[in-house]
Amino acid sequence: GQQFPGKPKITRCRSLEKDTFSCWWKPGPDGGLPTNYTLFYSKDSEETVYECPDYRTSGPNSCYFDKKHTNHRTTYNITVMATNEFGSNSSDPQYVDVTCIVQPDSPVDLSLETTTSAGVTDLWAKWSPPPLAHNSSNWRLHHYELRFKPEEEEKWETVSVGVQTQYKVMNLNAGLKYGVQVRCMLDCGEWSEWSPERQIQIPSGQLPPEKPTIIKCRSPEKETFTCWWKPGSDGGHPTNYTLLYSKEGEEQIYECPDYTTAGPNSCYFDKKHTSFWTIYNITVKATNKMGSNSSDPHYVDVTYIVQPDPPVNVTLELKKPINRKPYLVLTWFPPPLADVRSGWLTLEYELRLKPEEGEEWETIFVGQQTQYKMFSLNPGKKYIVQIHCKPDHHGSWSEWSSEKYIQIPSDYRVKDMIVWIIVGVLSSLICLIMSWTMVLKGYRMIAFILPPVPGPKIKGIDTHLLETGKSEELLSALGCHGFPPTSDCEELLIEYLEVEDSEDQQLRQSHPSKNTRLASKETDSDSGRGSCDSPSLLPEKCRESRTLPSKLPSQDVREVHENNAGSGWETQCVASSEDRALPFNIAGTKSSTWPAANVHPSTFAYHSTVDAPKVTLSTTNVNVAPVLVGNEEKHQSRYSTSETLCEENLEKQQAVEKMHSKNDQSTIQVNQNRLSEKSSFLNAKLMDYVEVHKIRQDEDAAVLLKHKENSGKIEKYTIPGTSKEYTKVSTVVDHNILVLMPDSRGQHTPVSQEPAKEMSQNLQQGQVEKNLSYCLPAPGECQREAGGSEYMDPSSFMPSFK
């Protein structure tokens, strides 16, 4: 049903602007009918009721009291009445104190002050309450609030002050700048805005001074010294410094005698106060209002702290001695304070110099002298030189003396320049001449300076043949068949047989002339070497080599066996022949062509059952082989021992045996002796000459006979009544038979007739050689082989006894 409206309620009244305020109400239930709201108010205790002047400004259900209607210090009694057709209803009255709803002004005249007492600094803040239009508002109490913060920080610290208009802020950090604000509030209502910020600097704390530090102590001349220190912070107050020291072994503490001479923050100890070889214990104390502080103790023995001043009076002198390069003498003096003359202080010096434009200094330690000579400076350049010094023991280097400039005079000697000019002109002239001649003469000059290398020219060699490479034709042109030598030719490589037996020495001595002749012959490189490449002999040799060897061995063997009773003589003979090691001659250039130089004597030898001779053989072989190979100059001949003249008689055999054995040794000895001898002359003598002694039937073979008779009689060759004759040995057959060459010069009886008995037998059985065949029976008819040489190379007839 419809009824009268509900009771409205005044929700709030606020002052949005200065000197105005508004009130709002909340309507109650309207009872279903349109309701009218009216606001009535009265002031204080007055009876007059007024109606709201303005319902619109602040919105619906509001009442706006403008300035005219707003009175501070007035309590409004406000009610709102809701009216509809049925009736009206009033709200409860709301007492509004305008002042309570109006924001007050901020406090004014904020002032800050710091006071320090007893090392404590306080901050006092003072202000005044905001002025009000109506003076009578002072009976209202304002509450105040203060806030402060350090300048750099964000957060405020707020303090409730109460009703007082001053406040002491404590626990502020010294040295910081603080900002302070205040605001106020009436007991009812709202806070005013914060007053403008005031700032204040809190002064630094009042502290005792910081600990000073002693920097260094120095003595410039080892008689006085000075110490310097560095102060710490002074704690906000003027600070005083005192230096205190004590000496080693003493209890007493002294104070610095002189604070001024050496400048601020220093202490100077004069001569009276300076002792050496004593440790000082030094401290510096800083004192100010707030307290004092001492440095750490510094222990110093003046002996070790000497640093002199730089040297003085640095002078240069250029000395120009005659005939020598000029040099510079640098002299200086020790610093004036240093007493070097009495020997109390000994200084060492060091100098450094560099060219003016140079980067790096060259440092030279000079020692205790006060002068220095410089030799190696470049003329024409400018140098800078400096010197410093230091005590000989301990201490430190002084500062460098001031820079000294040296200008080295350039040294153009006229003579030198002239010489160089002349040399230059001459060499250019020579070059010109050379080039002219080159241009003009051209190739002739070149040919003159660098002659062409001649090509090889060998007679009989057709270079075209060489190029075509047909060795057969070539070699035939040379006259050699069957090159390279086949194995058949091995024995051919033995040049000639050299007879050596016990009468070696006899032979040697008796045939000096012939041997030399032979030696000279042997040195002829074109002479018969008995190899396949000897033009004169090659055809015969090569041919014969093919024919001969096959026949002989068997016959010889048979012969030997027939002849010999199987006694040791054969073996001895063999042995002896074995001793005949390497019977070829190495001479001239052909040693390298004698591969068979290494042919062992065993090639000649029968199998020998005798060991001893073998031993000897080997030794001789050993001795000989190195000599032979490669050695062209020495040992021309490797002569063989041949005891080939073995007698058929047993007596002779025995003698021969003896001889053989003797000869073995002797030959060995001879070999060895010979090897040790340097002269090849003797060797040359041991050639293929054998003294031929005409042998009578009843006589032994000459050679042997000699030996048998008298080994001591080495020198005597002659058999009385026998004229000496020499013949060459053409071959040795059966190792014990000498085949001698017929001597074209003289008559000769084949000496070897006796042994030749066998020989002839042998030979008759087969043609050993042309020579022999006709030589032996009829000596006179002997013809030489037309070889041009007086002898045949016996090696070509040498049968192979393998």
Binding site: E223, F276, W277, R341, G343, W344, T346
Partner: protein, 220 residues
């Protein structure tokens, strides 16, 4: 080759002056005498060398064993030669008579004979003592003997007939070098080496003073 030989031989004969050293008086020869200046030169060389070695051995010992132990604060104990009154600055050194100064030097050297012998032997017992320290100790002991001989010769020359040089200060520090406690033992060595460095410097300085005074007439 032959030319070189010829050159060498001729050089040997011609340039003889730089090669041979000064002739030394053979022992027992009466007329031959080394000059006093020469004696002083040798003495100064020796004393310089001895002090150099003493400095080195002290520095090495300090670096190796004395770091952080605060020995320096305790080293103001004094040395066994402190009882001998020696000049402490230039004035005193110049006022003292040269004979007295010589006797003083000889006295100090004699007083160090014994400690040096024991230093050389005891330092070997220090754990892992480096070779450089060991050989220096031995060398100092040897050179000190030589210097003492030289000084006695000089004294004999300068003031012959002066017997009874009773300047001597005995050393009783051997037990401290043999202490069981390593710290105390090391400090004893430190102290001894510190005193050695100081006394050898004193001797070197006094000898240089004497040399300039007596030989060069105070005009070095």
């Amino acid at each position: 080759g032959l030319l070189l030989m010829a050159l060498l031989v001729s050089h040997m004969f011609l340039a003889k002056e730089g090669v041979t050293s000064l002739p030394i008086c053979p022992n027992g020869s009466v007329n031959c005498q080394v000059s006093l200046g020469e004696l002083f030169d040798r003495a100064v060389k020796l004393s310089h060398y001895i002090h150099f070695l003493s400095s080195e051995i002290f520095n090495e010992f300090d670096e190796r064993y004395a770091q952080g132990r605060g020995f320096i604060t305790k080293a103001v104990n004094g040395c066994h030669t402190s009882s001998l009154t020696t000049p402490e600055d230039k004035e005193q050194a110049q006022q003292i008579h040269h004979e007295d100064l010589l006797n003083l030097v000889v006295g100090v050297l004699r007083s160090w004979n014994d400690p040096l012998v024991h230093l050389a032997s005891e330092v070997q017992r220090i754990k892992e003592a480096p070779d450089t320290i060991l050989w220096k100790a031995v060398e100092i002991e040897e050179q000190n003997k030589r210097l003492l001989e030289g000084m006695e010769k000089i004294v004999g020359r300068v003031h012959p007939g002066d017997i009874g040089n009773d300047i001597y200060s005995p050393w009783t520090g051997l037990p401290s070098l043999q202490l069981a406690d390593e710290d105390s033992r090391l400090f004893a060595f430190y102290n001894l080496l510190h005193c050695l460095r100081r006394d050898s410097h004193k001797i070197d300085n006094y000898l240089k003073l004497l040399k300039c005074r007596l030989i060069h007439d105070s005009n070095c």
